[in-house]
C-alpha cells in the first residue's frame, strides 16, 4: 500500500443514476504494466473512463501519488499546467480511446499537435515529435497525409503517438488491439511493453486478448459486473483454474456452462 502511482479506492461510478462500477479497488505502481480483463459489459471501459475523469464518480476516491483529485479531468488538467511544465514533467495520464481515436480529416502532424493542445505548441512540438518519431518511424514518412488514409494498424500507432506527445506518466489504453490482425496486435503489444521498459511509462491496459496481455503484464485484475472478482500477479491469474475456464479457456466449455 505504499507509493502507488495511481490508486482508486472503492469507486462507484456510472452514467446518471445507472451504477456501472460498484466499489472497485485498483492501483498501478510506477513502471508497472497492469491488465484489466473481464467479460463484455463488465464495465472495463467505464472503469478507465472514471480514472481519467470522463465519467462522474459517485463514491470513493482516485489519487495520483497520494494526491487526491476527486474529479480528474484530462482537459482541465492540461489547462491548469503551463506548457513548459508539461514538457518538463509531462502530464500524469495519457488516454487512447477504443474507437474513433484519430481525427480523420487532420494530417498526421496536426493529429500529433492535437495531442499537445497547449499554448505556444509550435515550440514544443518539434522537441516532442523528434522523440516520438524514434519509436514510430512510419509516421515521419507520412507526416502530411490525412489520417483517414492510414491503415487500421497505422491509426492505432498514431493514436498511441498522440497520447504520448504530452509525455504521460501513465498511459491508459482501451483495447488497443481491437480490430487488428493477429500479427499486428502482437506488434502493438510488444511496442507497449517496450514503452514501459525504455521510457519508464506505467501502462494500464484493457484487453480482449486476455491471455497474451497477461503474459506480458506484471499484474492483472478481473472485472465482473463492476467489481474486482480477482487480482494478483499476472502469472498467478494465468494459472488460476476458474479464470482460465471463464476468460482464457476454450469457448465450447464456456457456452455449455452458460446456457
Amino acid at each position: 500500500m505504499t507509493k502507488a502511482f495511481l490508486r482508486a479506492e472503492n469507486i462507484v461510478s456510472g452514467y446518471g443514476k445507472l451504477h456501472v462500477i460498484n466499489g472497485a479497488n485498483i492501483h498501478i505502481d510506477e513502471r508497472e504494466m497492469v491488465t484489466v480483463i473481464g467479460p463484455n459489459g463488465s464495465g472495463k471501459s467505464t472503469l478507465i473512463k472514471t480514472l481519467i475523469g470522463l465519467v462522474k464518480i459517485f463514491d470513493g476516491r482516485v489519487t495520483i501519488r497520494d494526491e487526491e483529485r476527486g474529479w480528474l479531468d484530462v482537459q482541465t488538467r492540461k489547462r491548469q499546467m503551463k506548457p513548459d511544465e508539461i514538457i518538463r514533467e509531462g502530464i500524469p495520464l495519457g488516454y487512447v480511446p477504443q474507437l474513433n481515436n484519430v481525427f480523420p480529416s487532420l494530417t498526421i502532424e496536426e493529429n500529433l499537435k492535437m495531442g499537445l493542445f497547449v499554448k505556444k505548441w509550435d515550440s514544443y512540438y518539434h522537441e516532442r515529435s523528434e522523440q516520438i518519431f524514434e519509436s514510430f518511424p512510419i509516421l515521419r514518412e507520412r507526416i502530411n497525409q490525412r489520417a483517414s488514409l492510414l491503415s487500421g494498424g497505422e491509426r492505432q500507432m498514431l493514436a498511441l503517438a498522440r497520447a504520448l506527445m504530452p509525455a504521460p506518466k501513465l498511459l491508459i489504453l482501451d483495447e488497443p488491439t481491437a480490430a487488428l490482425a493477429p500479427n499486428l496486435a502482437e506488434e502493438m503489444l510488444q511496442l507497449i511493453v517496450s514503452l514501459k521498459n525504455t521510457a519508464g511509462i506505467s501502462i494500464l491496459l484493457v484487453e480482449q486478448r486476455a491471455k497474451r496481455s497477461l503474459e506480458l503484464s506484471d499484474r492483472g485484475y478481473v472485472l465482473v459486473t463492476g467489481m474486482i472478482a480477482a487480482k494478483g500477479p499476472a502469472k498467478e491469474l494465468l494459472s488460476e483454474d476458474k479464470i482460465r475456464k471463464l476468460y482464457l479457456g476454450d469457448r465450447a466449455k464456456k457456452e455449455k456452462e452458460v446456457g
Binding site: 446518471g16 445507472l18 465519467v55 479531468d73
Partner: protein, 443 residues
C-alpha cells in the same frame, strides 16, 4: 357534481400532460378567432374559408406526415405538388378545354410522376441534402410555371388576350354561377330545417354565424372536401397499420437493419414519395378552389413550411395529431389575416411614441408590430419550443403494441428478445446520460 368533474379533469391531465399544453394553445387561438368573427359583417365567409383551408391543408399535411412522420424523409418541396395539382387541373380545363375529370386525373398523374422523378436522385441522400434538393425541386416547378409562356400561360380575360401568368380557375367560376349552386342557403328549403332545429334548441347559433348567407356551392364544396379528407385519412391510417407501414417505421428508425433483413429501402422511399405526391396533388386541386385566379408566385416554399407547423405541433406519425395541429394553426392564421384584426391589433413604436420616443429617434427605429408578421414570429417560436420540449407534438405517435407480436415467439426467443431490448435500452440511456454529464462538466 363539480368536484367530481375537477378530479376527473385533473386525473386526465395527469395521464395526458399534452392536454394542458393543447388547452394553453387552443384557448387564446379560439378567443382570437371569436374576436375576428365578431368584427365581420358576414361571419360565414370566414367560416367557409377556414373550413376549406383546414380540409385542404389537412390533406396536404397528412401526405407530408406520411413522408416525415412514418418514413423520416424531410420533404421540403411539397409546394411543387400543390402547384402541379392546382395549375394543371385549372390550365387543362380553362385553356385547353379538357373535361374537368380528365384534367384532374392528368394533374394527379403528373404530380405523382414528378414525385417519382424527383425521388430518383434524392432518396439516396442524407436528410439535409434531401431537404435542399426538394426545396430546389419545388422552386424549379415554380420557375417553369413562371417562364413557360407558350404552353403554361393563359390568355388574359380582357382583350387583346395576351398570355399572362395569371390562370383563372374556370371550374370554380362556373361552379359559382350555375343554379342551384349560386343560391344562398337561406333561400333553400333545407334552411328551414336548420331554423327549426334552432328554435327547438333555443340557441340561435346558425343565425349568429350567418349560415344563411353561405352559398350552396360553398356547402357542396365543403362536403366534397370533407369526404376527400376523410378518405385520405382512412387510406393513410390503413397504410400505417399494415405491415407495409411497420416496415416504413422500421426504416425511419434504422434503415441499415432493414436493409440487412433483405428489404430494399430505396424502393420503399420512392413508393412513399410517389403516393404522397399523388395525395398532395389532390390537395393542390382542392387548393385551386381557394382562388378565382392564381399565379406561380402563389406557390412559394413558405407553403411547405406551414405544412411543417401543422405536422410538428400536432404530432408526427399519426393522423389525429396532424388534424389537431392543422386545426389550431389554421384557426390562428385565418383569424390573424382578417382585415379588422390586422387593423385593430396593431402597435406602433416609433419616435413619436410617448415612452421611449427620443431614445428610438436616436436609434432611428420605427417599429410596426402587426399581426401579419407577428403570426409567423409566434408560430416559429412555438414550433421551436415544440422541437425542444415536446418533440412528439400534441398527440404523440401511438406506440406499437409489442406484446401482440412477442406472444408469437417461443419462450426461448422471448427471453433472448427481452435481453436484447434491455441491453439496447441501457445502452441508449447510457449514451444520453453520458452526454448530460459531459455537458455539466463543461459549463
Amino acid at each position: 357534481m363539480k368536484r367530481v368533474d375537477v378530479s376527473r379533469f385533473s386525473s386526465l391531465v395527469r395521464k395526458h400532460p399534452e392536454l394542458l399544453i393543447g388547452l394553453a394553445l387552443a384557448i387564446p387561438v379560439v378567443l382570437l378567432y371569436l374576436y375576428a368573427l365578431t368584427t365581420l359583417e358576414v361571419k360565414s365567409k370566414l367560416l367557409f374559408s377556414t373550413a376549406s383551408a383546414l380540409l385542404v391543408f389537412f390533406v396536404g399535411a397528412i401526405s407530408l406526415d406520411l413522408e416525415v412522420g412514418s418514413l423520416g424523409l424531410p420533404n421540403f418541396g411539397k409546394v411543387a405538388f400543390f402547384a402541379l395539382g392546382a395549375y394543371i387541373s385549372a390550365l387543362l380545363y380553362s385553356v385547353y378545354d379538357v373535361s374537368y375529370l380528365v384534367a384532374v386525373i392528368t394533374a394527379l398523374i403528373i404530380s405523382s410522376l414528378f414525385g417519382y422523378v424527383l425521388s430518383i436522385p434524392t432518396v439516396r441522400l442524407r436528410a439535409d441534402y434531401f431537404a435542399i434538393m426538394t426545396i430546389a425541386g419545388g422552386e424549379f416547378i415554380r420557375f417553369v410555371f413562371q417562364n413557360e409562356k407558350r404552353w403554361l400561360w393563359a390568355p388574359s380575360i380582357l382583350p387583346p388576350h395576351t398570355p399572362t401568368q395569371i390562370i383563372s380557375n374556370r371550374a370554380k367560376i362556373e361552379l359559382t354561377n350555375i343554379s342551384p349552386f349560386n343560391m344562398r342557403l337561406g333561400d333553400m328549403d333545407i334552411y328551414h330545417v336548420l331554423e327549426s332545429i334552432e328554435n327547438l334548441l333555443r340557441i340561435r347559433i346558425f343565425t349568429a354565424l350567418d349560415i344563411d348567407q353561405l352559398f350552396v356551392w360553398e356547402v357542396t364544396l365543403l362536403t366534397v372536401f370533407f369526404l376527400i379528407a376523410l378518405a385520405t385519412y382512412w387510406f393513410i391510417e390503413r397504410i400505417r397499420r399494415s405491415p407495409y407501414g411497420r416496415t416504413l417505421r422500421a426504416i425511419r428508425e434504422d434503415d441499415i437493419t432493414v436493409t440487412s433483413v433483405g428489404k430494399d429501402v430505396f424502393r420503399f422511399r420512392w413508393q412513399v414519395t410517389t403516393i404522397s405526391a399523388f395525395i398532395c396533388g389532390l390537395a393542390g386541386v382542392m387548393y385551386a378552389f381557394s382562388f378565382n385566379a392564381f399565379e406561380a408566385s402563389d406557390f412559394r416554399p413558405e407553403l411547405t413550411f406551414v405544412l411543417y407547423f401543422y405536422v410538428i405541433i400536432g404530432g408526427l406519425g399519426n393522423g389525429k395529431g396532424v388534424f389537431v395541429g392543422t386545426a389550431l394553426v389554421t384557426l390562428f392564421m385565418q383569424a390573424a389575416s382578417v382585415e379588422a384584426v390586422q387593423r385593430n391589433i396593431y402597435m406602433h413604436v416609433g419616435p413619436d411614441s410617448p415612452l421611449f420616443g427620443s431614445f428610438l429617434e436616436i436609434l432611428q427605429l420605427d417599429i410596426f408590430i402587426n399581426p401579419f408578421n407577428m403570426r409567423y414570429v409566434v408560430l416559429g417560436t412555438i414550433l421551436i419550443l415544440f422541437l425542444i420540449f415536446k418533440p412528439g407534438g400534441l398527440i404523440p405517435e401511438p406506440r406499437t403494441d409489442n406484446e401482440k407480436y412477442l406472444s408469437l415467439l417461443t419462450p426461448y426467443e422471448r427471453a433472448r428478445s427481452d435481453e436484447a431490448v434491455s441491453a439496447r435500452q441501457s445502452l441508449t440511456e447510457k449514451e444520453r446520460l453520458f452526454e448530460g454529464t459531459e455537458d455539466e462538466n463543461d459549463s
